[in-house]
Amino acid sequence: MNRGLYLIKRLLLAVPVMLFGLTLSFLILYLGPIDPVGTILGRQATPEDIRQLRIQLNIIYPNGEPVPLWDQYLRVMWDLFTLEFGQSWTVQRQTPVIDLIVGRMPATIWLGFWSVLIALFVGIPLGLYAGLRANTYRDYFASGFGIIWRAMPNFWLAVILAGLITAGGALDWYKDFIVTTTVTGTPDVLNNLFTLYHVFEGIPLLEALAIPVPNLIPMAIAFKWILPAALVLGSSSMGNEVRIGRTAVLESINSKYVDTAKSKGVSGRKIIYKHVGRNAIIPLLPVIMGEFYLLIGGSVLVEQVFGINGLGNLFFRSILGPDIPLVMALVFIFVIIQVTVNIVQDLLYTYIDPRISLEDTQ
């Protein structure tokens, strides 16, 4: 089967997955003991205000009849799939949901980007290194490091690290290290990471395109600020990558095809890069892709502890609200991310491991 056809098939199959996820979220929210009207209007609301709001929120018809659940369900789903995300109920009354989400996105993307990258660039080399030096002290050191990171739960690590680097903690020099940054909260530099150059000024169609050029100093500041949170969020993935990377290298290096390659006269370096490396990546792929799942759950917690104004924080507040349009929109986005990650992973598999054909991955 060719990859294009496969992609279309997978996208179609993603629709029921999305329906299921969203339906489940809808049921949990709507069947639970919620009273958005009370939350929005407060104690002093007049019955008329309440009636008006209920009609507006599609809970009752103008004639006072309650809107049946299935009707509400269809309305909510239709809006989501037509990308009508509506307005926030409680988090920021009457602000379009989409504006809220877009506003919070940079912090979370920045956090996620670095937590994946740090884990990747520390965990994988360290794992490969440990595997190549198996059962030496360097290996024990590297593997021990991995196990410790893996073992520290992120809710614990987040609190400890935040405690250490805020005022009075053992690491409070971090705040003033090189440049002074806040360690909690969201700095303004996030909006200043790139300068957009509109190079196509005056050319129709292309006019809207701009080339982003990174601003190095704000980048560095933003990196320093996000580092503790990113470390916490990526901690368990990093540990996993060390562990799996080590095992994968060991397995590959002791395999017959490595012996055979040596027998052909292939140099030690090439054996590592070509014959061991490619095979060791295969078991690492699900660990790497799995980081994205951890991000979604982990960001709720880490953003809360470090006071980062991101999507995780928004999600948490919207559930407490409850701000149902916001929750549903965020769930919608999260499900899309997960489904996409899944498809990308399966496609990557077929590139990395020729033994896996597209037919088997379903």
Binding site: T260, A261, S263, K264, G265, V266
Partner: protein
């Protein structure tokens, strides 16, 4: 062919291409030292196939890996061992120097074709890798050469199959591909470690025929390792029988099957089903090969030997000639047959002492 006076180059050439002398490979674990290969000597001449036969655990594969320089920690080739290939002492080579011997000098075909090709690269890629490293052939020329090689080992539709991955090949085809990959290195010497064991009987026969043909075409020397006496009878010119890290009998193949001397060789031959069997029914050898974790100061076969006597427990048998016409030796206290028991024991003892003195 050339004139009649000019003899077959292989027949006149008695200079061995590989000489193994007193090879000792030991594995050090926390509990014990395993003498996987314990002082063996043999040679292989140009264009000849020499077999090493023995049960699993007898040290055959460790011998092969020692020659290839593939012994990893905790294994070690002991000082005093010598492996000479085309006059070059291999045991003294650095890893980088060894690389120039591997491939273009000595190639090796491993037991399991399932695992000896890298699953993530195409067969063509792996053959071209051999060509590039050992012969500097790249590009279009490499593709052509690889196609020719696959055809030479009897893979139909070779050009297309170059782009296939190992898992798309059947077991027999995969072993052919491995052989093609090794031939791409253009080696003078090929070690085959149980190359047909994982294959079914018909495929096995085809691979053996293929090896024989290739040997004739390319004047290859082959060291063929197997546990299967039937295969040895088919392919080898001379045979070394290995038991618990030692060679217990050496002879040309016909002589070995006609006049096996060592009780272990006899037992092995008796356990072959079919034509070579000298007895009614199928014999099996009771017990297992012991782990050679003690110095050889006795006959390691004694616990399983039907002919064992007292001296076998404390005298190490040495190789003595057991035939007047042939190069045939056996390491067993029953020989030389014309001496009395006490004289034989004495002879072996004095040979053993000479040997250790020679070492120091």
């Amino acid at each position: 062919m050339s004139s009649e006076t000019h003899a077959d180059p292989t027949a006149g050439d008695t200079e061995p291409i590989l000489t193994v002398e007193n090879l000792q490979t030991a594995f050090y674990t926390d509990r014990e030292t395993i003498r996987a290969v314990d002082s063996i000597s043999f040679d292989v001449k140009r264009g000849e196939t020499v077999g090493i036969v023995g049960e699993s655990g007898s040290g055959k594969s460790v011998t092969a890996r020692s020659i290839m320089g593939l012994i990893d920690s905790p294994g070690r080739i002991m000082p005093g061992s010598s492996i000479k290939f085309q006059g070059q002492e291999l045991t003294e080579l650095s890893d980088a120097e060894y690389r120039s011997v591997r491939g273009s000098g000595i190639g090796m075909v491993f037991q399991d074709p399932q695992q000896s090709l890298n699953p993530v690269y195409t067969v063509g890629n792996q053959i071209r890798e051999s060509l590039k490293i050992n012969r500097g052939i790249t590009g279009e020329e490499a593709v052509e050469e690889a196609t020719d090689l696959l055809e030479a080992v009897g893979i139909p539709d070779a050009k297309r199959r170059l782009d296939e991955y190992p898992h798309q090949f059947s077991g027999g085809m995969r072993q052919r591909a491995v052989i093609a990959m090794m031939l791409a290195c253009d080696p003078d010497f090929l070690i085959c470690d149980e190359p047909t064991t994982a294959l079914d009987v018909t495929i096995q026969a085809q691979i053996l025929d293929l090896l024989k043909d290739l040997q004739e075409e390319r004047n290859l020397s082959i060291l063929f390792i197997t546990h299967d006496m039937g295969v040895i009878a088919d392919i080898a010119d001379r045979v070394n029988v290995m038991y618990a890290g030692q060679i217990v009998e050496q002879a040309p193949v016909e002589e070995l099957f006609a006049n096996p001397k060592h009780p272990y060789t006899r037992a092995l031959i008796d356990s072959i089903p079919g034509e070579h069997s000298r007895k009614e029914g199928l014999e099996t050898i009771e017990g297992e090969v012991p782990t050679p974790n003690e110095p050889a100061d006795h006959c390691r076969f004694a616990p399983r030997c039907p002919k064992a006597f007292d001296a076998c427990e404390n005298v190490p048998p040495q190789h003595v000639s057991v035939s007047d016409e042939h190069d045939h030796t056996a390491a067993c206290l029953l020989y030389p047959e014309d001496l009395t028991e006490s004289h034989r024991v004495e002879k072996h003892l004095s040979l053993a002492n000479d040997d250790t003195e020679g070492d120091t």
